[in-house]
Amino acid sequence: MVKKQEIIKAESRNFNFFYADGTHALKDINVPLYEKRITALIGPSGCGKSTFLRSFNRMHDLYPGNKYQGKIILNPDDTNILDKKVDAIEVRMRISMVFQKPNPFPKSIYENVAYGLRVRGENNKRMLDDKVEEALKGASLWNEVKDRLPDLAFNLSGGQQQRLCIARALATDPEIMLFDEPTSALDPIATVNIEELMSELKKKLTILIVTHNMQQAARISDYTAYMYLGKMIEFDETDIIFTNPSKKETEDYITGKFG
């Protein structure tokens, strides 16, 4: 089922997640993320796909009482990023994230993109300028904002803000980028822009995306995982999932009989 030349960039092994109130949100999830491929997580709302995605950069650490179990291995150094000894900040510096709703900081466009570098202690103006330009180009936003870099980021349109957030995540050369329903708050044109952008990005890095939109998953992803009630029902190449899934539940969901 998996092409031979694929390299595993990250992998969850028997991963379980519990919220502070005791909810067992994810049950024994095993999913590989292949290097320079887009993996999509689909499933009805509440199935745990966002919860799973947010585990990859330890977002759940922000709220007390949440508990991880099992492993998420990050290669090439074979680090279990859930390990208590591994610093969440280190994980987040390697794996960046784009959120459901654009969440730019109340700063200039320039400072938004430079933020990740500043957090890393980078203050060299020329270095920052180069990186900001590169990231904005990478997020195909450069042409629209190059003359207004000192403007407040809030003044951008929703689609531009989301691309800004992608540039922000891109500027630090992450190994993996997580997208949590990145187009759900955007109009169709902005959505197309972002989808094209992701296809461009996968030339350089590994992508995991949560989407509520099955067409989107079918359009852009190489692999798809179908989740339901906190369980991984099926994982396979996207073409197979959408044309010839092996599980009945997956088929029902894909064909719209359920959900």
Partner: protein, 313 residues
């Protein structure tokens, strides 16, 4: 074991060193923050304890039943606490109905528009006016223009103006928490607007309103500046006429016109004396005031906490 032919990430060690460096700031700030809060707490605790320890020997029955005196060991706060009680009595009966009514008006009756806006702007500004300005208002208006003199009535009205914004704001907040469907249910069975307000809105908002009233009263107990400004006396060795009489109609209102002093003014007076013995009296009075206000505020905060926990619409 080298895996997957991926190049080893050389930056990793750099990143780790960086994180350690940055996390140091986290720890330093957490330390500073904790230190600041702890030292503020300790400083205030020391101050309050000092007040209590200094005042403690004076706090006995005689202290409450004696008039102030030139001899510090004889002096008590009888006229002061009686004055405070009577002034607060007036304050309560003026500020609570008006404040609650104004709050109800703004939330339930007023139509959106310039008039409601004007009232709102005024309420929020009045909350920020220094208390001594209320004293000047009362001095010019109540004492002289209305000829009410430097009386308990004047002081009560003055403090009620101070308390008004607090009552209004807390009433509004309490009402705002009541969902529309409760009102609709009452309207649906044919209740009038006032019936809905009286039977439902006020009843359900009562806890929040009460919180505001207690906090407002606690503030009124401690207010000094406006009461000094209207000319409250600092040395009073008599009591106002009793509100209850032995002959019919058993109630009289002469006490409203009487001169008076209140607890914080008594304390102020004793602080200003050079003799150390009077400072002990001041500490004892301060301890009484602090206990009263902390107790009232504590009750109010607890009450609000309970309401927040209990009511889930």
């Amino acid at each position: 074991m080298k895996k997957n032919n991926l190049p080893e990430n050389k930056n990793l060690d750099l990143i780790r060193a960086l994180i350690i460096k940055h996390k140091k700031n986290d720890h330093i700030f957490a330390g500073i923050g904790f230190f600041v809060i702890a030292s503020l707490a300790v400083a205030l605790l020391v101050l309050f304890l000092d007040l209590l320890i200094n005042g403690y020997p004076k706090i006995n029955l005689e202290f409450f039943s004696n008039f102030p005196s030139r001899k510090p060991e004889m002096a008590g706060i009888l006229s002061a606490w009686m004055g405070s009680a009577l002034v607060l009595f007036v304050t309560f009966f003026v500020a609570v109905p008006i404040g609650v009514a104004a709050g109800i008006y703004l939330e339930e009756y007023a139509k959106k528009g310039w008039f409601a806006d004007l009232i709102e702007i005024n309420v929020s500004n009045l909350a920020g006016v220094p208390s001594i300005i209320y004293g000047l208002l009362a001095l010019g208006l109540f004492v002289y223009e209305f000829g009410m003199g430097q009386s308990i009535l004047t002081a009560g009205l003055t403090l009620s103006l101070l308390m008004l914004p607090i009552v209004i704001v807390s009433t509004r907040e309490a009402i705002r928490g009541i969902p529309v469907h409760i009102r609709e249910a009452a309207f649906a069975v044919g209740a009038t607007k006032w019936q809905v307000t009286w039977h439902h809105v006020i009843q359900y908002a009562m806890g929040g309103v009460l919180t505001g009233i207690i906090i407002g009263m606690a503030r009124a107990i401690g207010e000094t500046a406006p009461v000094i400004t209207i000319g409250a006396l600092t040395f009073i060795a008599f009591l106002p006429p009793s509100p209850v009489t032995e002959v019919a109609p058993f109630i009289n209102f002469d006490w409203l016109d009487a001169g008076f002093t209140v607890l914080p003014i008594q304390m102020f007076n004793w602080i200003s004396r050079p003799e150390h013995a009077f400072h002990i009296n001041a500490a004892a009075t301060g301890a009484v005031i602090i206990m009263l206000t902390l107790l009232m505020n504590g009750v109010a905060i607890k009450l609000r906490y309970n309401i927040r926990k209990k009511i889930k619409w």
